[in-house]
Symmetry: C2
Subunit: 298 residues, 2 copies
C-alpha cells in the first residue's frame, strides 16, 4: 500500500476519481475509464461508474448512492431492522430507493403482501436496471407497485392508517430530497401509518452532515414522541467518513431492542445469506458513541 | 452543502487538501494554509496540519494518525476496553502511540502504577508536544517512562511475565511498523505478559487495508489461541472509509464481554467525561457485520 507524497493520486489523475465532498472532507473512489451511464435528468445528474475496488457505483450529483461492494450494509439495515422488530408488516411504502436495493431486501420477507415504491426520478431506476442487476433484481416482483412520482405529494394524498412500514430511503437534503427532511412530511407519514406501525429513515451522517443529522432527530421526536425515536449506526465505507445513521420510529409500536427476537433474526439472516445484518449487529447498531448521543440527546 | 460537479475541490485546490489513499480509495481533509510542522525524520515524514473542520491533524507519510476532533474514538477504545475488562492492571507497555493520546487515557486509571512507552520516532512525540497539547497532555506524568527506541527490539529483550497490559498502537504495516505485524513479535509480546494479561492491537481496516486485517487475525490466534482473540470495531471518520478495527487478546485472561462490569464502566466514562467510549459501545463494538466475521472466521 504505497502512499505517494502530496499531491496524491486524486490530484494527479483527476478524471479517474469520483469525489464526494462537503467542502471540508472528501472521499474519492477510483474508477475505470469512461462513465457507464451519465444523464442530466429533470432533477439531478445520475451516473454509474465501474470502480477499481468497489464494483459498479451509482452516484447522484457526485454523491455516492451505492456500490456493489458495500450496498448490503445500507439496504439490509434500513429494511431488516424494522422487518425483524415488527412481526406483522404486510403493507409497505418506500419513498426514494430508486436503485432497488431496499425492494430486494423487503421481498425476502414472505409476510409482506404489498409494496408501493415512489421514486421521483425514473433515470435512477433505469440506470440501476441497466448496470446494477444484483441491486435492481426485484423490480419485477408482482407484489411491487412502482410509481415515478413525488413522494411528498404521494404521502400527502395517501389515506390514513394504510401502511405498516414506511421506509424513507432518500438522498441527501439538497435538491429533490430536501422536502423529505421536514416536519410537515413526517406528520403525513405518521398519519398514514397504522397504529403500531413503524418507519426507518436515512438520517444522514453525524460526521459528514452534522447539521442535517442533528436537525432531523428533534423533528422526528416532535412528530412520533421522544421515546419512539431510535437512532442507529451503520458502517458504510463508500460514504464519506464511513459513519452513517438510520433512524427507527414507531407509532406507539414495538421497541427495536425490547421487542426483538434474536433467534428469529439469526435464522433469517442465515437463511438469506445476508452480508451485513445479523442478530448481534441489530442490537449493537443502537449503541451510540457518547458524542453522538450528545448531538441528539439520546 | 453544495456538491460541485467533477472535478471536485480536491482536484482544483491541490495544495489545500491532505489525501490519505490506498490507490483505490482516498480520504481528503482540507487544511488552512501552510503545514504547522513538516520533518523528514530517520523513518518517515511527520506533519501537522490545521484543518478546517477537524482541528489539528498529525500525519505520517500522508497517512492520518489523528485529528483533535475525533482522536478520542481511537484512544479511548484501544485503552478503556482492556482497562475496564481486566481489573488488576498495574504495569503497562505501550508500543508506538507517539502522539500521546493512549498515555493520556491510561493515566485516567488510578490502578496503573507504571507505564513504559516505546516510540521509535522522537519527531512524532515532538510534533505532538508542540502542536497537539490536548493529546500530548500526559507526557510529564511521573508514572511514565518514555523510551525513543525500537519496540520490536525492546519486546525481544524484555523479561518474561513483566506486564499486565501491552498496547500496540502502531501506524500501518509499511515502513517502521511492518515488524509489528509478525508472529515472532507477538510471541515475544505473549511471553512478556503476566498470566491473565491482555493486549490491544491496532488491527487495520477491513475495508481500507483488507489484506493486513485478514492476515493479522490468524497470526494473533496462532500465538494467543483461537478463543482468546476478539476483534472489535470503531468509527473513525478521519481514517479512510471510517471503519477501523482493534483486537483484544488475552493470555488466558478475562473475556471482554463475559467478564465485563457495565456499571463500573458507565461510572468511569461519566466521571472522566469520555467522548466516545461508554458501557454500551464497549459491548457493541465486538458485534461484527457478517462479512467482517467471515473475513476472520469469528
Amino acid at each position: 500500500m504505497p502512499h505517494p507524497d502530496h499531491p496524491a493520486s486524486p490530484q494527479t489523475q483527476p478524471n479517474e476519481w469520483l469525489t464526494d465532498s462537503n467542502g471540508e472532507l472528501a472521499l474519492s473512489i477510483r474508477f475505470k475509464g469512461d462513465r457507464l451511464f451519465q444523464e442530466q435528468s429533470l432533477y439531478q445528474t445520475v451516473e454509474v461508474f465501474d470502480t477499481h475496488s468497489c464494483g459498479k457505483m451509482l452516484t447522484i450529483d457526485s454523491m455516492v448512492m451505492c456500490t456493489e461492494w458495500d450496498e448490503a450494509a445500507y439496504h439490509e439495515m434500513i429494511t431488516h431492522v424494522p422487518m425483524l422488530t415488527h412481526p406483522g408488516i404486510k403493507d409497505v411504502l418506500v419513498i426514494g430507493a430508486g436503485d432497488g436495493g431496499t425492494i430486494r431486501e423487503l421481498m425476502r420477507h414472505s409476510s409482506v403482501e404489498k409494496v408501493v415504491m415512489v421514486e421521483i426520478d425514473e433515470a435512477v431506476v433505469r440506470a440501476s436496471k441497466l448496470f446494477l442487476p444484483t441491486i435492481s433484481s426485484a423490480f419485477d416482483d408482482p407484489k411491487l407497485t412502482l410509481l415515478i412520482d413525488d413522494g411528498i405529494k404521494f404521502v400527502s394524498d395517501a389515506a390514513d392508517a394504510s401502511y405498516d412500514l414506511v421506509i424513507i430511503d432518500s438522498s441527501d437534503p439538497v435538491g429533490p430530497s430536501e422536502g423529505l427532511f421536514t416536519k410537515s412530511f413526517y406528520k403525513d407519514v405518521h398519519r398514514i401509518l397504522r397504529p403500531g406501525g413503524v418507519i426507518t429513515v436515512q438520517s444522514e451522517s453525524p460526521s459528514f452532515n452534522p447539521k442535517a443529522f442533528t436537525e432531523l432527530n428533534p423533528c422526528l421526536k416532535s412528530v412520533f414522541g421522544e421515546d419512539q425515536v431510535h437512532c442507529y449506526l451503520v458502517f458504510i465505507p463508500t460514504y464519506p467518513t464511513g459513519l452513517w445513521s438510520l433512524t427507527y420510529c414507531s407509532k406507539d409500536g414495538p421497541h427495536p431492542l425490547k421487542q426483538f427476537d434474536a433467534a428469529k433474526s439469526s435464522a433469517f439472516a442465515k437463511e438469506h445469506g445476508l452480508r451485513y445484518y445479523n442478530e448481534d449487529v441489530h442490537t449493537a447498531a443502537f449503541s451510540l458513541p457518547t458524542y453522538i448521543r450528545n448531538m441528539i440527546n439520546q
